[in-house]
Protein backbone atom coordinates (compact mmCIF):
# COMPACT_ATOMS: atom_id res chain seq x y z
CA UNK A 1 0.00 0.00 0.00
CA UNK A 2 2.80 2.35 1.00
CA UNK A 3 4.67 1.41 -2.17
CA UNK A 4 1.67 2.20 -4.36
CA UNK A 5 1.20 5.55 -2.68
CA UNK A 6 4.84 6.36 -3.29
CA UNK A 7 4.53 5.25 -6.92
CA UNK A 8 1.45 7.43 -7.39
CA UNK A 9 3.21 10.41 -5.84
CA UNK A 10 6.21 9.95 -8.13
CA UNK A 11 3.99 9.59 -11.19
CA UNK A 12 2.12 12.77 -10.29
CA UNK A 13 5.37 14.57 -9.60
CA UNK A 14 6.84 13.64 -12.99
CA UNK A 15 3.61 14.51 -14.82
CA UNK A 16 3.33 17.83 -12.97
CA UNK A 17 6.93 18.81 -13.70
CA UNK A 18 6.53 17.87 -17.37
CA UNK A 19 3.31 19.87 -17.77
CA UNK A 20 4.79 22.84 -15.90
CA UNK A 21 7.86 22.68 -18.13
CA UNK A 22 5.65 22.64 -21.24
CA UNK A 23 3.84 25.76 -20.03
CA UNK A 24 7.16 27.44 -19.33
CA UNK A 25 8.48 26.45 -22.76
CA UNK A 26 5.42 27.82 -24.53
CA UNK A 27 5.88 31.22 -22.90
CA UNK A 28 9.65 31.47 -23.17
CA UNK A 29 10.96 33.09 -26.34
CA UNK A 30 14.67 32.56 -25.76
CA UNK A 31 15.80 29.46 -27.65
CA UNK A 32 18.80 28.84 -25.38
CA UNK A 33 16.54 28.95 -22.36
CA UNK A 34 14.16 26.52 -24.02
CA UNK A 35 16.95 24.12 -24.83
CA UNK A 36 18.32 24.32 -21.29
CA UNK A 37 14.84 23.67 -19.87
CA UNK A 38 14.36 20.63 -22.11
CA UNK A 39 17.79 19.29 -21.14
CA UNK A 40 17.02 19.75 -17.43
CA UNK A 41 13.64 18.11 -17.84
CA UNK A 42 15.23 15.11 -19.55
CA UNK A 43 17.85 14.87 -16.83
CA UNK A 44 15.12 15.09 -14.19
CA UNK A 45 13.24 12.20 -15.78
CA UNK A 46 16.32 10.00 -15.96
CA UNK A 47 17.47 10.82 -12.41
CA UNK A 48 14.00 10.30 -10.90
CA UNK A 49 13.77 6.91 -12.65
CA UNK A 50 17.19 5.79 -11.45
CA UNK A 51 16.60 7.02 -7.89
CA UNK A 52 13.24 5.27 -7.82
CA UNK A 53 14.76 1.90 -8.70
CA UNK A 54 17.74 2.52 -6.41
CA UNK A 55 15.36 3.04 -3.49
CA UNK A 56 13.44 -0.08 -4.45
CA UNK A 57 16.76 -1.89 -4.49
CA UNK A 58 16.13 -3.30 -7.95
CA UNK A 59 18.32 -0.98 -9.99
CA UNK A 60 19.65 -2.71 -13.09
CA UNK A 61 21.58 -1.51 -16.11
CA UNK A 62 18.52 -2.28 -18.29
CA UNK A 63 16.42 0.15 -16.29
CA UNK A 64 19.04 2.86 -16.54
CA UNK A 65 19.28 2.42 -20.30
CA UNK A 66 15.49 2.36 -20.62
CA UNK A 67 15.18 5.67 -18.79
CA UNK A 68 17.95 7.15 -20.92
CA UNK A 69 16.11 5.96 -24.06
CA UNK A 70 12.82 7.53 -22.99
CA UNK A 71 14.72 10.65 -21.95
CA UNK A 72 16.25 10.81 -25.42
CA UNK A 73 12.78 10.61 -27.00
CA UNK A 74 11.56 13.39 -24.71
CA UNK A 75 14.54 15.55 -25.65
CA UNK A 76 14.25 15.01 -29.41
CA UNK A 77 10.49 15.61 -29.51
CA UNK A 78 10.53 18.72 -27.32
CA UNK A 79 13.63 20.18 -28.97
CA UNK A 80 11.86 19.85 -32.32
CA UNK A 81 8.62 21.22 -30.95
CA UNK A 82 10.10 24.30 -29.31
CA UNK A 83 12.91 25.24 -31.67
Amino acid sequence: MKGRLRHSFEFFLVAFVLIAALFFLSFTRDYQMRLATIALLTLFYVVVGILHHYEEKNLHIKQILEHFAIGAIIFVVLAALFR
Binding site: F11, L18, H52, E66, I73, V77, L81, R83
Partner: protein
Protein backbone atom coordinates in the same frame (compact mmCIF):
# COMPACT_ATOMS: atom_id res chain seq x y z
CA UNK B 1 -1.70 -22.01 -50.95
CA UNK B 2 -4.14 -21.49 -48.17
CA UNK B 3 -1.93 -23.61 -45.91
CA UNK B 4 1.03 -21.38 -46.73
CA UNK B 5 -1.03 -18.34 -45.92
CA UNK B 6 -2.00 -19.95 -42.66
CA UNK B 7 1.65 -20.64 -41.77
CA UNK B 8 2.66 -17.10 -42.74
CA UNK B 9 -0.10 -15.59 -40.73
CA UNK B 10 0.78 -17.76 -37.79
CA UNK B 11 4.43 -16.77 -38.00
CA UNK B 12 3.40 -13.17 -38.37
CA UNK B 13 1.15 -13.31 -35.36
CA UNK B 14 3.86 -15.03 -33.30
CA UNK B 15 6.35 -12.38 -34.36
CA UNK B 16 3.96 -9.58 -33.51
CA UNK B 17 3.20 -11.13 -30.15
CA UNK B 18 6.93 -11.42 -29.46
CA UNK B 19 7.31 -7.79 -30.43
CA UNK B 20 4.30 -6.34 -28.65
CA UNK B 21 3.00 -8.60 -25.87
CA UNK B 22 4.77 -9.61 -22.66
CA UNK B 23 4.90 -13.39 -22.31
CA UNK B 24 7.29 -16.12 -21.22
CA UNK B 25 9.01 -16.45 -24.63
CA UNK B 26 10.19 -12.84 -24.61
CA UNK B 27 11.00 -12.90 -20.92
CA UNK B 28 7.82 -10.91 -20.24
CA UNK B 29 9.36 -7.93 -21.94
CA UNK B 30 8.09 -7.04 -25.46
CA UNK B 31 10.90 -6.33 -27.89
CA UNK B 32 9.55 -2.89 -28.80
CA UNK B 33 9.82 -1.75 -25.18
CA UNK B 34 13.43 -2.77 -24.73
CA UNK B 35 15.97 0.00 -24.56
CA UNK B 36 17.52 -1.08 -27.88
CA UNK B 37 14.19 -0.54 -29.67
CA UNK B 38 13.58 2.71 -27.83
CA UNK B 39 16.94 4.02 -28.98
CA UNK B 40 16.00 3.00 -32.53
CA UNK B 41 12.80 5.04 -32.15
CA UNK B 42 14.91 7.99 -30.97
CA UNK B 43 17.13 7.69 -34.03
CA UNK B 44 14.10 7.49 -36.31
CA UNK B 45 12.78 10.70 -34.74
CA UNK B 46 16.19 12.31 -35.13
CA UNK B 47 16.32 11.19 -38.76
CA UNK B 48 12.93 12.76 -39.41
CA UNK B 49 14.19 16.02 -37.93
CA UNK B 50 17.44 15.89 -39.88
CA UNK B 51 15.55 15.09 -43.06
CA UNK B 52 13.42 18.18 -42.64
CA UNK B 53 16.24 20.47 -41.51
CA UNK B 54 18.50 19.40 -44.36
CA UNK B 55 15.94 20.75 -46.76
CA UNK B 56 14.93 17.45 -48.33
CA UNK B 57 11.41 18.06 -47.22
CA UNK B 58 9.39 21.22 -47.73
CA UNK B 59 8.21 21.06 -44.17
CA UNK B 60 9.95 21.18 -40.88
CA UNK B 61 8.48 18.46 -38.83
CA UNK B 62 7.11 19.61 -35.52
CA UNK B 63 7.92 23.23 -35.07
CA UNK B 64 8.70 26.16 -37.30
CA UNK B 65 8.58 25.67 -41.02
CA UNK B 66 5.73 24.28 -43.01
CA UNK B 67 4.42 22.61 -46.09
CA UNK B 68 2.10 25.45 -47.03
CA UNK B 69 1.99 26.90 -50.50
CA UNK B 70 -0.14 29.39 -52.31
CA UNK B 71 -1.28 27.19 -55.19
CA UNK B 72 -2.52 24.44 -52.89
CA UNK B 73 -4.37 26.96 -50.72
CA UNK B 74 -6.12 28.41 -53.76
CA UNK B 75 -6.96 24.94 -55.07
CA UNK B 76 -8.36 23.86 -51.70
CA UNK B 77 -10.34 27.08 -51.33
CA UNK B 78 -11.86 26.56 -54.76
CA UNK B 79 -12.63 22.92 -53.93
CA UNK B 80 -14.57 24.07 -50.87
CA UNK B 81 -16.49 26.54 -53.03
CA UNK B 82 -17.17 24.28 -56.01
CA UNK B 83 -18.34 21.44 -53.76
CA UNK B 84 -21.08 23.81 -52.60
CA UNK B 85 -21.94 25.05 -56.05
CA UNK B 86 -20.21 28.40 -55.56
CA UNK B 87 -18.17 29.88 -58.38
CA UNK B 88 -14.43 29.36 -58.05
CA UNK B 89 -12.03 32.22 -57.43
CA UNK B 90 -9.46 33.49 -59.89
CA UNK B 91 -5.99 34.30 -58.67
CA UNK B 92 -5.26 37.99 -58.86
CA UNK B 93 -1.67 39.20 -59.07
CA UNK B 94 -2.72 42.41 -57.37
CA UNK B 95 -4.31 40.55 -54.47
CA UNK B 96 -1.21 38.35 -54.20
CA UNK B 97 0.76 41.56 -53.94
CA UNK B 98 -1.59 43.13 -51.38
CA UNK B 99 -1.47 39.97 -49.26
CA UNK B 100 2.33 40.04 -49.43
CA UNK B 101 2.38 43.69 -48.35
CA UNK B 102 0.04 42.89 -45.45
CA UNK B 103 2.24 40.00 -44.31
CA UNK B 104 5.37 42.13 -44.54
CA UNK B 105 3.63 44.86 -42.57
CA UNK B 106 2.66 42.38 -39.84
CA UNK B 107 6.23 41.13 -39.50
CA UNK B 108 7.70 44.65 -39.67
CA UNK B 109 5.33 46.09 -37.04
CA UNK B 110 5.13 42.80 -35.13
CA UNK B 111 1.37 42.45 -34.79
CA UNK B 112 -1.14 39.64 -35.17
CA UNK B 113 -4.34 41.45 -36.09
CA UNK B 114 -6.31 42.69 -39.05
CA UNK B 115 -5.60 46.27 -38.07
CA UNK B 116 -2.04 47.43 -37.44
CA UNK B 117 -1.18 49.12 -34.13
CA UNK B 118 -0.95 52.42 -36.02
CA UNK B 119 -4.49 51.92 -37.32
CA UNK B 120 -3.64 50.79 -40.83
CA UNK B 121 -6.59 48.78 -42.08
CA UNK B 122 -6.48 45.67 -44.26
CA UNK B 123 -8.07 47.66 -47.10
CA UNK B 124 -5.11 49.99 -47.25
CA UNK B 125 -3.12 47.22 -48.94
CA UNK B 126 -5.86 46.55 -51.50
CA UNK B 127 -5.90 50.13 -52.62
CA UNK B 128 -2.12 50.49 -52.40
CA UNK B 129 -1.65 47.90 -55.15
CA UNK B 130 -4.39 49.49 -57.25
CA UNK B 131 -7.11 46.92 -56.61
CA UNK B 132 -10.28 48.99 -56.65
CA UNK B 133 -13.00 46.88 -55.21
CA UNK B 134 -16.65 46.51 -54.50
CA UNK B 135 -16.01 43.60 -52.19
CA UNK B 136 -12.98 42.85 -50.09
CA UNK B 137 -12.15 40.33 -47.39
CA UNK B 138 -9.19 39.13 -45.40
CA UNK B 139 -8.39 35.89 -43.59
CA UNK B 140 -5.24 35.32 -41.58
CA UNK B 141 -3.60 32.16 -40.25
CA UNK B 142 -0.40 31.31 -38.46
CA UNK B 143 1.43 28.31 -37.00
CA UNK B 144 -0.17 25.73 -39.27
CA UNK B 145 1.95 22.99 -40.80
CA UNK B 146 0.11 22.25 -44.01
CA UNK B 147 -2.16 23.95 -46.52
CA UNK B 148 -4.96 21.54 -45.63
CA UNK B 149 -4.57 22.54 -41.98
CA UNK B 150 -4.98 26.22 -42.83
CA UNK B 151 -8.13 25.57 -44.85
CA UNK B 152 -9.53 23.29 -42.13
CA UNK B 153 -8.83 26.01 -39.55
CA UNK B 154 -10.64 28.64 -41.57
CA UNK B 155 -13.55 26.36 -42.38
CA UNK B 156 -13.97 25.60 -38.68
CA UNK B 157 -14.43 29.29 -37.90
CA UNK B 158 -17.72 30.82 -39.00
CA UNK B 159 -16.34 34.24 -39.95
CA UNK B 160 -13.51 32.81 -42.05
CA UNK B 161 -15.81 30.24 -43.56
CA UNK B 162 -18.24 32.99 -44.57
CA UNK B 163 -15.42 34.84 -46.27
CA UNK B 164 -14.16 31.77 -48.12
CA UNK B 165 -17.61 30.79 -49.32
CA UNK B 166 -18.90 34.28 -50.05
CA UNK B 167 -20.31 34.10 -53.60
CA UNK B 168 -19.64 37.80 -54.07
CA UNK B 169 -15.90 37.31 -54.13
CA UNK B 170 -14.35 36.63 -57.51
CA UNK B 171 -10.62 37.08 -56.95
CA UNK B 172 -8.15 35.65 -54.51
CA UNK B 173 -4.59 36.48 -53.55
CA UNK B 174 -2.47 34.67 -51.01
CA UNK B 175 0.86 35.24 -49.35
CA UNK B 176 2.76 32.66 -47.31
CA UNK B 177 5.69 34.09 -45.35
CA UNK B 178 8.07 32.75 -42.74
CA UNK B 179 9.38 35.02 -40.03
CA UNK B 180 9.37 35.94 -36.38
CA UNK B 181 6.09 37.29 -35.11
CA UNK B 182 5.73 38.38 -31.50
CA UNK B 183 8.82 36.39 -30.59
CA UNK B 184 7.76 33.16 -32.28
CA UNK B 185 9.08 31.80 -35.53
CA UNK B 186 6.02 31.19 -37.60
CA UNK B 187 4.53 30.78 -41.02
CA UNK B 188 2.01 33.50 -41.67
CA UNK B 189 -0.73 33.09 -44.26
CA UNK B 190 -2.63 36.12 -45.57
CA UNK B 191 -5.61 35.52 -47.81
CA UNK B 192 -7.13 38.48 -49.62
CA UNK B 193 -10.46 38.09 -51.35
CA UNK B 194 -12.10 40.64 -53.55
CA UNK B 195 -14.23 41.67 -56.47
CA UNK B 196 -13.10 44.52 -58.63
CA UNK B 197 -15.20 47.61 -59.02
CA UNK B 198 -17.83 47.25 -61.68
CA UNK B 199 -17.81 43.47 -61.83
CA UNK B 200 -21.15 41.79 -61.56
CA UNK B 201 -21.36 39.42 -58.68
CA UNK B 202 -22.88 36.01 -59.07
CA UNK B 203 -24.12 35.86 -55.54
CA UNK B 204 -26.80 37.75 -53.79
CA UNK B 205 -26.33 41.36 -53.00
CA UNK B 206 -25.12 42.12 -49.53
CA UNK B 207 -27.72 41.38 -46.97
CA UNK B 208 -29.13 44.23 -44.99
CA UNK B 209 -26.82 44.42 -42.06
CA UNK B 210 -27.92 44.77 -38.50
CA UNK B 211 -25.11 47.15 -37.81
CA UNK B 212 -24.36 48.62 -41.21
CA UNK B 213 -22.33 46.02 -43.06
CA UNK B 214 -22.99 47.64 -46.39
CA UNK B 215 -22.06 51.12 -47.23
CA UNK B 216 -23.53 53.07 -50.08
CA UNK B 217 -22.97 56.41 -48.53
CA UNK B 218 -20.58 58.24 -50.77
CA UNK B 219 -19.54 60.62 -48.06
CA UNK B 220 -18.27 57.71 -46.02
CA UNK B 221 -16.46 55.62 -48.53
CA UNK B 222 -15.16 52.67 -46.69
CA UNK B 223 -17.26 51.36 -43.97
CA UNK B 224 -14.90 48.93 -42.34
CA UNK B 225 -17.63 46.75 -41.13
CA UNK B 226 -17.34 43.50 -39.44
CA UNK B 227 -19.70 41.80 -37.13
CA UNK B 228 -16.73 40.18 -35.40
CA UNK B 229 -14.31 42.99 -34.93
CA UNK B 230 -15.05 46.24 -33.17
CA UNK B 231 -14.85 49.12 -35.57
CA UNK B 232 -14.36 51.70 -32.89
CA UNK B 233 -10.95 53.26 -33.06
CA UNK B 234 -10.05 52.03 -36.49
CA UNK B 235 -8.79 54.64 -38.85
CA UNK B 236 -9.19 54.95 -42.55
CA UNK B 237 -5.94 55.50 -44.41
CA UNK B 238 -5.82 58.17 -47.02
CA UNK B 239 -5.49 55.71 -49.84
CA UNK B 240 -8.75 54.06 -48.94
CA UNK B 241 -10.55 57.37 -49.29
CA UNK B 242 -9.66 57.40 -52.95
CA UNK B 243 -12.44 54.91 -53.46
CA UNK B 244 -15.02 57.42 -52.34
CA UNK B 245 -17.05 57.07 -55.48
CA UNK B 246 -17.58 53.36 -55.12
CA UNK B 247 -21.24 52.55 -55.30
CA UNK B 248 -21.21 49.73 -52.82
CA UNK B 249 -18.39 48.48 -50.72
CA UNK B 250 -18.28 45.43 -48.55
CA UNK B 251 -15.25 44.72 -46.48
CA UNK B 252 -14.95 41.79 -44.21
CA UNK B 253 -12.28 40.61 -41.93
CA UNK B 254 -12.84 37.43 -40.08
CA UNK B 255 -11.99 36.81 -36.51
CA UNK B 256 -11.88 33.53 -34.71
CA UNK B 257 -14.71 33.93 -32.29
CA UNK B 258 -16.25 30.54 -32.84
CA UNK B 259 -15.55 27.98 -30.14
CA UNK B 260 -12.59 25.71 -30.74
CA UNK B 261 -13.74 22.51 -32.36
CA UNK B 262 -11.47 19.53 -32.83
CA UNK B 263 -12.20 17.08 -35.60
CA UNK B 264 -9.68 14.20 -35.43
CA UNK B 265 -10.13 13.27 -39.09
CA UNK B 266 -9.58 16.81 -40.34
CA UNK B 267 -6.71 17.23 -37.91
CA UNK B 268 -4.96 14.07 -39.09
CA UNK B 269 -5.44 15.08 -42.73
CA UNK B 270 -3.91 18.46 -42.00
CA UNK B 271 -0.67 17.04 -40.61
CA UNK B 272 2.57 16.68 -42.50
CA UNK B 273 4.25 13.30 -43.02
CA UNK B 274 6.82 13.91 -40.29
CA UNK B 275 4.17 14.86 -37.75
CA UNK B 276 2.11 11.81 -38.62
CA UNK B 277 5.13 9.53 -38.27
CA UNK B 278 6.11 11.04 -34.93
CA UNK B 279 2.59 10.83 -33.53
CA UNK B 280 2.17 7.28 -34.79
CA UNK B 281 5.42 6.11 -33.20
CA UNK B 282 4.57 7.73 -29.89
CA UNK B 283 1.00 6.37 -29.96
CA UNK B 284 2.26 2.83 -30.58
CA UNK B 285 4.70 3.14 -27.69
CA UNK B 286 1.99 4.50 -25.38
CA UNK B 287 -0.38 1.69 -26.36
CA UNK B 288 2.19 -1.05 -25.80
CA UNK B 289 3.47 0.51 -22.56
CA UNK B 290 -0.11 0.68 -21.22
CA UNK B 291 -0.88 -2.88 -22.29
CA UNK B 292 2.40 -4.04 -20.81
CA UNK B 293 1.75 -2.36 -17.47
CA UNK B 294 -1.72 -3.95 -17.24
CA UNK B 295 -0.40 -7.44 -18.04
CA UNK B 296 2.57 -7.12 -15.69
CA UNK B 297 0.34 -5.78 -12.90
CA UNK B 298 -2.34 -8.48 -13.29
CA UNK B 299 0.10 -11.36 -13.54
CA UNK B 300 2.43 -9.98 -10.89
CA UNK B 301 5.45 -10.47 -13.15
CA UNK B 302 8.79 -9.49 -11.63
CA UNK B 303 11.37 -8.34 -14.17
CA UNK B 304 14.30 -6.00 -14.67
CA UNK B 305 12.73 -3.04 -16.36
CA UNK B 306 11.08 0.22 -15.48
CA UNK B 307 7.48 1.12 -14.84
CA UNK B 308 5.70 1.16 -18.18
CA UNK B 309 2.84 3.25 -16.84
CA UNK B 310 5.14 6.18 -16.08
CA UNK B 311 6.60 6.05 -19.60
CA UNK B 312 3.08 5.87 -21.04
CA UNK B 313 1.99 8.93 -19.05
CA UNK B 314 5.02 10.96 -20.14
CA UNK B 315 4.72 9.99 -23.81
CA UNK B 316 0.98 10.77 -23.71
CA UNK B 317 1.77 14.27 -22.48
CA UNK B 318 4.20 14.64 -25.40
CA UNK B 319 1.43 13.58 -27.82
CA UNK B 320 -0.90 16.19 -26.36
CA UNK B 321 1.83 18.82 -26.71
CA UNK B 322 2.39 17.91 -30.38
CA UNK B 323 -1.34 17.96 -31.14
CA UNK B 324 -1.69 21.31 -29.38
CA UNK B 325 1.21 22.83 -31.27
CA UNK B 326 0.07 21.49 -34.62
CA UNK B 327 -3.17 23.43 -34.31
CA UNK B 328 -2.47 26.87 -35.65
CA UNK B 329 -4.36 30.09 -35.09
CA UNK B 330 -6.70 31.94 -37.38
CA UNK B 331 -7.75 35.55 -37.29
Amino acid sequence: MSALKKIASTKLSVGLAHFLIPHSKNDHHPLILRHESLFVVTFVLLFIQFFSFAGFSPSHVLGYGTDINKDTLITLTNQERSSRGIATLKESAKLDQSATLKGEDMFAKDYWAHFAPDGTSPWYFFTKVGYTYNWAGENLARDFSTSAGVIAGWMASQGHRDNMLNPNFQDIGISVQNGTLQGDQTTLVVEHLGTVKGASTSGSSPTTPTSGTTNSNKSKPTNVEDKFLPVAGTSQPQEANSSADLPKIEEKVASAVTPFSFNPVDFWASLGLGQKTTLLLLAILVGVFLFDSVVVFRKGIARHNSHSLLHAIVLSILIVAIVRSATGGVL
